[in-house]
């Protein structure tokens, strides 16, 4: 499909408009607080409108192909190009990212956490937005790498400046973990560059992800694929985060300001899983087949470990963070099955987890603002003191534990189901064991979420807060939360909204993996 006129610009606009907004905000003096907030929100809203235009113009009949492709020279000396494009896999994630940022800006409008400074806060959110959007549309490995890294510093500062007590430790831990992963990732990218050959054995020397998807690792022997995959695994697995690299996540989440947590959960973690589906598996199918049982193992360990971690938490935000580890475990399990069914479920799970956990972090943030604590033992009776917020917390908890009819269900249930019959000649016995363990994980999830809800929302408010007036959900919060709530219900009752978009891409990837597996 030839891209012409305005359509050649739309992806770049969606990516760079927030950055332009950030630059303008930087030029506005601090004293003009309203103006700079408006500019920030405006730029992210325009980007969202561009995103809506993309969603409307997107050819859903050809969701398996890249659309709105732009291919321009960038770093000629290393043969890296500015290639952006969008297919059914990128679209939901790009939209998720485009929606979340303006909502976070609205939520923070009057709630800039200590020590204030809305200007810097908004600028960082906008830079973050550019990095996230760019990662989802890049079709060149170096471009992807640059965007992937751009998100690090803003998040580091968001946690470090506006975070809780232990913020310095948490922000540094977050940064060092991810930096280590990405350093190994870039080595793997270069190995792919130097080793990839086309079908006729000609060296490709390209970073073009389209080409590398097409050749599917032909010409790289299996043992090498396993090594390169290991590098990618570190890069993406730390970001997800997979057990045993997850330890940065609870700290980062607990210390981050509310919107930092929301963005971290809703979008940043998805960069990791997206990387697996977009890069690691299609480029190195043999490596993926060799690694899949281990990824599955770490995924189910993550599910159980995350759930047990949740049961032990005394802090509400930390509990939600551990539940993230468990949920991303389901996503990774779906990916590890290398089946069409499982990877589709994983993509769905990514979006669903983004909405649901994002919502939970919002509620946690608002509770913290009102009670000045998130210690579960000190909370209670939320349904009495702030009934609307109590109901929203209940709703999000139900969605998170995978209640059918809400979005969470469609991420978890098919992922478990797909493990019954893994693809690409993977051992059925092993994956069926994983399936049983993951199923136990859902029971635990119901346990810790309902227990959390019971302790915080039911009963009477604790003595400490019995006399205090707790404000219910306010206007800014309604605006920021409504799209999340709508999305959770909408995707819950109409999952094909996402499955239809992603399936073409996913089936293309699994088909090529199956072909490689059959060839052995």
């Amino acid at each position: 499909m030839e891209v012409t006129g305005f359509d050649t610009w739309v992806l770049s606009l969606a990516v760079f408009l927030p950055l332009v907004g950030a630059l303008i905000v930087m030029l506005i003096p601090k004293a003009y607080e309203t103006e700079l907030k408006l500019v920030a929100l405006g730029s992210s809203l325009i980007a969202l409108v561009v995103g809506a235009y993309i969603a409307i113009q997107f050819d859903y009949g050809a969701a398996g192909e890249l659309q709105f492709v732009v291919d321009k020279g960038w770093i000629d000396v290393i043969n890296s190009r500015y290639i952006v494009g969008l297919d059914g896999l990128s679209l939901p994630l790009l939209l998720l990212s485009l929606v979340v940022v303006p909502l976070c800006l609205i939520y923070s409008w009057n709630h800039i956490p200590d020590p204030g400074n809305p200007k810097a806060f908004f600028v960082l959110l906008l830079i973050l937005s550019t990095g996230m959007n760019g990662s989802f549309v890049s079709q060149d490995m170096i471009l992807f790498f640059v965007f992937f890294e751009v998100v690090l510093l803003p998040m580091y500062f968001l946690i470090g400046v506006w975070g809780g007590e232990d913020r310095r430790y948490a922000s540094l831990k977050f940064f060092l973990y991810t930096l280590f992963g990405s350093a190994l990732m870039i080595i793997s990218f270069l190995a792919l560059f130097f080793l990839s050959k086309d079908a006729s054995g000609q060296l490709l020397q390209t970073f073009d992800m389209r080409v590398l998807t097409d050749v599917a690792g032909v010409g790289i022997i299996k043992s090498t694929q396993v090594w390169i995959f290991a590098g990618l695994f570190m890069g993406f697995g730390i970001k997800v985060p997979m057990f045993p690299f997850h330890t940065w996540l609870p700290d980062a989440h607990t210390q981050a300001p509310t919107v930092g947590s929301v963005i971290l959960a809703a979008v940043l973690l998805k960069l990791g899983t997206y990387g697996f589906i977009r890069i690691a598996i299609p480029f190195l199918p043999e490596g993926a087949i060799a690694w899949a049982p281990w990824i599955g193992l770490l995924a189910v360990i993550g599910i159980i470990y995350g759930a047990l971690g949740c049961l032990a938490q005394k802090d509400m935000k930390r509990l939600i963070a551990f539940s993230s580890v468990a949920h991303m475990g389901f996503v990774m399990l779906g990916i590890a099955t290398l089946t069409d069914f499982g990877i589709n479920a994983a993509v769905f799970g990514m979006v669903a987890h983004g909405l649901i956990t994002g919502m939970l972090f919002f509620v946690a943030g608002s509770i913290k603002e009102r009670y000045h604590t998130l210690e579960i033992a000190r909370l209670g009776g939320l349904l009495k003191s702030a009934p609307r917020m109590g109901w929203i917390l209940g709703f999000a908890s139900m969605a998170s534990l995978g209640l059918p009819g809400l979005a969470g269900f469609w991420g978890e249930f098919p992922a478990i189901l797909s493990a019954y019959n893994p693809g690409a000649g993977l051992s059925e016995e092993v994956f069926r064991v994983y399936m049983v363990i993951a199923a136990i994980g859902t029971v635990l999830a119901a346990g810790y979420l309902l227990w959390l809800y019971q302790r915080t929302a039911f009963g009477e408010p604790t003595e400490e807060f019995a006399e205090q007036k707790i404000a219910d959900v306010n206007r800014d919060e309604w605006i920021a939360w409504m799209p999340f709530l709508i999305g959770i219900v909408l995707f819950g009752v109409w999952p094909n909204l996402i499955f239809n978009v992603t399936d073409d891409v996913v089936s293309g990837i699994t088909a090529s993996v199956e072909a490689i597996a059959a060839g052995n």
Partner: protein
């Protein structure tokens, strides 16, 4: 008598020598002006020096446009793209250093004319170094750039630390020169020539000769002192801390680059056939330098010392491509040149911020950076960009430098190269830990004693900051800019 007079001077290509001659002329001019007008001329000194450097850039540009390789003095002195790119790099870094020096030298009431004359002389040595292709011319260039630097390091002559800096630097430098000269004499004895090409031919055929190996190692160790590679780095932190800050920046960037330039020519041309010695040597030295430099940097509390150790570690990164000098020569040269170019700007930028902040706080302790983001957000953001670049985080420039290393390593391929790649990756992470301490101090901590007076910036510091920020960001977002220079500068001897 007849025989002596019969000497005819070798044919000189005046165009090719124009950069060196211009630099020399301005250095002399500064002295002459000082003698004639004495105190009244002080104000004009930095301006004259700056103009001198910019004027020297002109013939460099015309030579680059001309594009023909010029060889003089029997191959001892060569003007090719490699040398021109590096001459330009030296001149521009020198210009930034002069911008950094203006107020420091003036406010400190130090000798001005001598300072700038010595600076230009040292730069002359560097400019010559990039063209030298012969043991003798390399040595002459090295001494020409080092001797003024010894004096510059001791410029705050009232301060004990500055004297210590100068003396330590001098003693270590002379020691290194001696070791190197001994190595050179051994190599000359074996090869019967001082020209790199001839040395390469002879040494390549002397596989089993221990003397050849000794000669090569001594020369390399001599330069390892100059580029402060571990375990020959011990002078660097004390010298850096004691020397006036602009001089520290000059040593950390220009002087180190000059050492690297000499190493490039020696390793890739003169010792081209001896990868059995060169590659393991640099593998070890690079891994040690990166790791130890970084680990010690973690414990520093003074920012200049921290930058000194970070500079040691960065030097280790630059040495990485030498470990694959024979397996992927073109990529390796490219990687070193790109690294040096990006490093020059990001490191000079960091030192500029240190200078600017010290104007207010009068302190080099990292703790004094608290609250910088509150009272000087511009400087804090600038420092963030430079530190991110040094740590190798896109979109600031440094990532492309690190990328070049990985590219050279993986182009060479094999387990040793990949292993070194992992060492680089681990060190990148360690390095961020201490850069993050500065970041954390600037962004997360309140100002010490609540002192939130703004930092007074002077015009020349602003100019230096602007230049370094623009270059650092441009190299990060459009790495093609610097990548191009890296590509053209692959030594003509390699057939690039």
């Amino acid at each position: 008598m007849e025989a002596l007079l019969a000497f005819s001077r070798p044919a000189l290509d005046w165009h090719a020598l124009a950069p060196e001659l211009t630099l020399l002329a301005f250095g002399t001019l500064i002295t002459v002006v000082d003698i004639i007008w004495d105190d009244r001329s002080k104000q004009a000194m930095p301006t004259l020096a700056g103009i001198g450097l910019l004027a020297t850039l002109l013939p460099v540009i015309t030579l680059a446009l001309d594009g023909t390789d010029r060889t003089m003095f029997g191959g001892a002195y060569v003007i090719d793209d490699f040398s021109l790119v590096l001459k330009a790099l030296f001149l521009i870094s020198g210009y930034v250093v002069i911008l950094m020096s203006v107020d420091y030298i003036r406010d400190g009431d130090y000798y001005e004319n001598e300072y700038y004359t010595l600076m230009l002389t040292s730069l002359l040595g560097m400019v010559m170094m990039s063209s030298s292709r012969d043991l003798i011319s390399v040595f002459v260039a090295l001494e020409l750039l080092s001797i003024p630097a010894y004096m510059l390091a001791a410029w705050r002559k009232g301060g004990a630390r500055s004297n210590e800096a100068g003396l330590k630097y001098y003693l270590m430098g002379v020691f290194a020169s001696a070791v190197m000269l001994y190595g050179m004499s051994l190599v000359y004895g074996l090869a019967g020539s001082t020209a790199f090409g001839a040395i390469a031919e002879e040494l390549g055929s002397l596989d089993s000769s221990p003397v050849a190996i000794l000669g090569i190692l001594f020369i390399l160790i001599g330069f390892a002192f100059k580029v402060s590679a571990v375990p020959f780095h011990t002078w660097a932190p004390d010298t850096y801390e004691g020397a006036p800050t602009p001089v520290t920046a000059f040593l950390a960037v220009a002087s180190k680059t000059a050492g690297m330039v000499a190493l490039i020519q020696l390793v890739f041309v003169a010792f081209a056939g001896r990868d059995d010695v060169v590659q393991p040597f640099f593998w070890l030295i690079a891994a040690l330098t990166m790791t130890i430099g970084n680990l010690i940097a973690l414990r520093q509390t003074n920012i200049v010392r921290l930058l000194a150790y970070s500079g040691v570690a960065q030097g280790g990164f630059m040495l990485v491509p030498f470990a694959v000098a024979a397996d992927a020569p073109a990529r390796a040269v490219e990687a070193v040149v790109i690294y040096m170019a990006i490093y020059a700007f990001m490191n000079l930028g960091a030192f500029t911020v240190v200078l600017a902040v010290a104007r207010k706080t009068r302190s080099g302790e990292i703790d004094s950076y608290g609250g910088l983001f509150q009272y000087a957000p511009g400087l804090a953001v600038a420092m963030t960009i430079f530190l991110a670049a040094l740590a190798g985080i896109p979109p600031a420039g440094g990532w492309f430098a690190k990328f070049g290393l990985f590219r050279a390593l993986l182009d060479a391929g094999g387990g040793w190269a990949a292993g070194l790649g992992v060492v680089v990756a681990v060190n990148t992470v360690i390095a961020f830990a201490y850069y993050a301490r500065i970041l954390g101090q600037m962004w997360f901590q309140p100002a010490p004693d609540g002192d939130e007076r703004p930092v007074v910036m002077t015009g020349s510091l602003k100019a230096a900051l602007a230049m370094t920020i623009i270059a650092t960001m441009a190299f990060g977002i459009l790495p093609g800019l610097v990548g191009h220079f890296g590509e053209v500068s692959v030594l003509s001897a390699l057939g690039g």
